[in-house]
Symmetry: C2
Subunit: 388 residues, 2 copies
DNA sequence: GCGTAATAATTTCCTTCGTCAAGTATTGAT
DNA sequence: ATCAATACTTGACGAAGGAAATTATTACGC
């Protein structure tokens, strides 16, 4: 049976939270280096780490090879016991549930998905219950060591209350998803916006580790952006943040469904690409896959559409870099998006429009498997245990 | 003689800093309401406030009229003793020093300026010494109760080390201004970027009070932006932040001196306005004042230039709102800039391009006297005393 | 006028967290 | 073997903040 301090929180003191977070995100670290990094005495680290080791969340590794002058007692690094606890993460889209089980280090252990024919709340909860059962009761025997579930939903989500205020794809309004999912699954549930979840995962377990500020851009039907500034996720006072897709980058560009002009999304979003490709090819039934195939096959007109889109995205990313100056930026395509067609143009647009030293901001452009979204949900769940 | 705890810091504990900051920024507050607001016990507030009262930084006001049901001991609000200490703030431009003396509440008590014929470091320090002497030894007798000086400089400034890495208008490279100014004036010096200083002033003492996130946009020769997110000033990992002027908002717009295309500054900055006005009027000697006069006089072509500029600025501001979602945005013209010609177009551009609920973000558009920049420097100096 | 309820502020006592300083553990170098 | 260097642990101590009781000051009902 799982037990820990008090009512669900893993750590009781800020120092213990800091110690566990640092070990979790920055790999094995000795007590002394933790103390240096966190500005604590080594005694404080020893005291904070002890209960975490006793509870099985941390373990002491064997001393590694020496560094520095060579004399002195070798450090015994602290590492996270990844098997100590498991977390379910589920991404809810309009037509599918994608679920994963992750360990404490956010490594995916198993995954599954279920198609969704009906995006009503009841149907989704129903499928969610089965998906969680499949994941936890299948091989691996995760059930006994799993208490938490993270859910990622696109739209306006209040993580604190677990309320989905509005989700356009699901057509949900004010759904108390945290409570409902907890009733269905019996797990402790955390609900977060999908892009924020992905950003959190990248910040704690991916390329954003150690960065004081960090941005993640997702390219697909919509174009979104998660932002970490001064070590904290940006939420936006009016419920709006990271809407890089609706930055206006072309005063003479097309009108966007949002009412704006020349929005990045109206130029580079999947529907915009399809619309332009249909217009220019004269084939009204053409799909995004067709457009990608044509561009890869050397069609210059279709290629120019992707080029223009990539440039718009790069300009939007440069706006992020110019405004908040993140230490690094990760650009990920939703699912199997044609990120390779965009990449050079994104970089070109970014480099042209980034001001001064902002061009030094490293840009990672890479595809994003659908499971990553679910892993993001699991990462949020891990975070809710470690730093509530 | 001024005395306080330890080595220059006003408060010793985080709680005392929080109490003093709250009283400073949010006006008189009773101990109980402070406790509620800060999440402390009222006992803790009493203990934190006592030494601040003893040192003369806080004072207890007479009980005010009752609120609520009516029964109970009336609260005795704590207020800042504005006269307790004074601060000098100086804005350094390429051709002038503007200085003010502020009290602890950042109210300007007196001001002065000195023309600058030579922007070399020696000449500036020389004039700075005289300006400070003029301010402190003139009527008011501020010298005895003044220990700190804030300096605002445009360009790349490291507030922590007090180093001016690069200032384009002054042509300074790696000037240790904090140390040099301290030697000249005998005061404790803080150096900050001018836009950040202004943002800090507005965040602590102006319209940004109480806002978790907040943006200030300055319009003039350059177009800049100071950003507060999650209660903290944004600095940018690569030394770049708030460069709203170099967001690309028009893919077919003019090329900017930064190498970008359709930058806000290349459309709406004072030099860009002048250039366009000259081209369209055919008068190569035309100044910004002429352009403003023509536009105000009804010249439709010149008016359209301002309209386009205002729209570009509004689009840039919408990018800020869409990305970080500040609780409010203040737009200020540098000096006497023609903000009235811009205002409606800034609002129009913003409202068109702001996504969803971001349009609810209140926009204040107002002129900015040059002294405000110096007051910003003083505000940073106050901050360095209160929350180092 | 006088108790009583209500709210504000203070005081006293106590817990807790983290530091300091001293001590233990484990290594390489001489 | 001894010593220097580094890592970690232990226990005493101090400071910060909380809980609860106490004091202060008001309005209101009688």
């Amino acid at each position: 049976m799982l037990t820990e301090t008090g009512k669900g929180a893993l750590t009781e003191t800020p120092a213990a939270t800091a110690v566990f977070t640092a070990v979790l995100t920055e790999g094995p670290l000795s007590r002394v280096s933790l103390a240096r990094q966190l500005g604590l005495s080594s005694a404080a680290v020893t005291k904070a780490a002890r209960p975490l080791i006793e509870m099985g969340y941390l373990q002491e590794l064997a001393a590694t090879e020496r560094t520095g002058p060579g004399a002195g007692r070798p450090a015994s690094p602290l590492a996270v016991q990844a098997d100590r606890e498991f977390f379910v993460g589920v991404k809810i889209t309009g037509d599918e549930l994608i679920g994963v089980v992750c360990d404490l280090c956010a490594d995916v252990r198993t995954s599954a998905h279920r198609p969704l024919t009906d995006p009503s709340v009841e149907a989704v909860l129903n499928e969610l219950g089965r998906l969680v059962d499949d994941l936890l009761d299948g091989p691996g025997g995760y059930r006994a060591r799993t208490r938490r579930l993270g859910l990622a939903v696109s739209g306006d989500v209040d993580r604190n209350t677990g309320l989905v205020r509005y989700s356009p794809f699901l057509q949900w309004h004010n759904v108390p998803l945290e409570r409902l999912a907890a009733e269905v699954t019996g797990l402790t549930v955390t609900v977060e916006n999908d892009v924020k979840a992905l950003t959190t995962a990248e910040h704690w377990f991916g390329e954003g580790v150690g960065a004081e500020s960090f941005a993640l851009v997702t390219v697909g039907t919509g174009i979104g952006c998660g932002l970490v500034v001064n070590g904290r996720l940006v939420s936006g006072s009016h419920g709006v943040a990271g809407e890089i897709g609706h930055i206006g980058v072309d005063a003479t560009g097309p009108t966007c469904h949002c009412g704006g002009r020349g929005c990045v999304e109206a130029i580079a979003g999947t529907p915009a690409i399809v619309r332009q490709a249909r217009e220019c090819s004269g084939r009204p039934e053409l799909t995004i896959d067709d457009a990608v195939a044509l561009a890869r096959g050397g069609d210059e007109q279709i290629g120019a559409i992707f080029a223009r889109g990539g440039n718009a995205i790069g300009t939007g990313i440069a706006a992020v870099a110019n405004l908040v100056g993140p230490a690094r930026i990760v650009v990920s395509g939703e699912g199997l998006a044609a990120y390779d067609l965009f990449e050079t143009h994104i970089r070109a647009g970014f480099e042209r429009q980034a001001f001064g030293a902002a061009v030094d901001c490293p840009l990672s452009i890479r595809p994003l498997p659908f499971e990553e979204w679910a892993r993001g949900a699991a990462a949020v769940s891990i975070q809710s245990l470690v730093a509530p």
